[in-house]
Symmetry: D2
Subunit: 133 residues, 4 copies
């Protein structure tokens, strides 16, 4: 999402039970989820081995990104659980794709996108823990 | 999914790291996720209060259902994390919709679909713990 | 969607510009889309040849089903265009899976689910043309 | 999708029956679909009037973007039909959101994202017609 839209839209993005959100962490997390969905979708089409993990990861990343665009319908507990699920799914997909990374540029890039998405979800999670305390 | 298709397809539904799956629990869980996605999608369109939670729940339920149809790309850890996320999201949506249940049949039915989905996800989770041990 | 929920929810399902909808045709179409999404999701995981068509078909069927659950946000023209897209995508997937139907029960069932979904979308389309005239 | 990934992945993006694709038009179209999905998702959460059209548009845009990432599973006819459906859905959402554009920055930006997506889908469609002839 571009910065102008993010500014205009951020007033809509308030989670009940969390007064403050780290909007920079959230923007980075949404962008990483979106990039990961795209990389996984392409990667799933080139090799049978990684297809199931890649599509599961693409769906989870899309669901995660949308949930960040709909903060009003989250609670801190649900958000944490979804971030954990997204991290676990990215880990699963990265582990699978790393096995083919030497032979396939697409797998290598998919694994990188999964790693970036995991990192961004972890940073988002930490920012929520910090702001809640 | 109807029973004939489930039988034919269940050979595809094997998770690495889990030799046995409780296929009856999985079928019940997929059906509950699908019903919950549909109920939440309708419910989200009738009242601003529940829209965000309902759409987050609909997306998570669809992602969960699809992951059960693509077991080859899961690990037990990722599956557990996704079931937890689905349970947390159903809880959030049910809590919201229960507040409007007296005034709205749609909200009441949505809350019931969320409750059924939570129960089915918990049963699925328990069956995995039992079979893993 | 079960019949009780459909009855309670059908008051929400009104498309601007279409006074009457054939609710039986719509229910049948939503059920066929949902079944097709599930069959395509499983089928996409077993063979590289059909994976891309199956996943495109699964996504289109889910989008189509959800649009029928959110009639308030459709126009007759957009609805017709989406039904045409769903029919075209089911045709593409069915053609692909029919090539493997002799060797794979999953492909054969996926092709059948695509055929049923096409038929249900065509019936829905015809009911709209009839009611509009 | 960033340019490096697009280069590496474009070898996977071949549609049967279309020897050449305008990759620049496709990249622009995918980016516009992704931006439109995000804008519509936020916009759907702020006002009951536009919620159904916005969510239908978000789902269609995501399905369209994914289909472009899975060209191997498309045919020219299915691709055209999906582009038409995406254009019709963006038009419906834009028309709705334009009615609230004076009072809501989010609606105005959503309408702009729908307009950009329509334009990019039309350009993609024209590039296909040109290359097919």
């Amino acid at each position: 999402m571009d910065a102008t839209m993010m500014d205009a839209m951020s007033a809509e993005m308030k989670m009940p039970g969390m007064e403050m959100m780290d909007m920079a962490a959230m923007q980075a997390c949404m962008d990483a989820c979106s990039a990961c969905e795209q990389a996984c979708t392409v990667c799933s089409m080139q090799m049978m081995d990684c297809a199931p993990a890649c599509m599961n990861c693409a769906d989870m990343c899309n669901t995660m990104m949308r949930a960040m665009l709909r903060m009003q319908g989250m609670t801190p507990a649900a958000m944490m659980a979804m971030l954990d699920a997204c991290i676990a799914m990215c880990q699963t997909c990265m582990d699978e794709c790393m096995q083919h990374a030497e032979n396939s540029d697409v797998c290598r890039m998919c694994a990188q996108a999964c790693k970036s998405c995991m990192d961004a979800c972890m940073a988002m999670r930490e920012s929520m823990v910090k702001m809640a305390s």
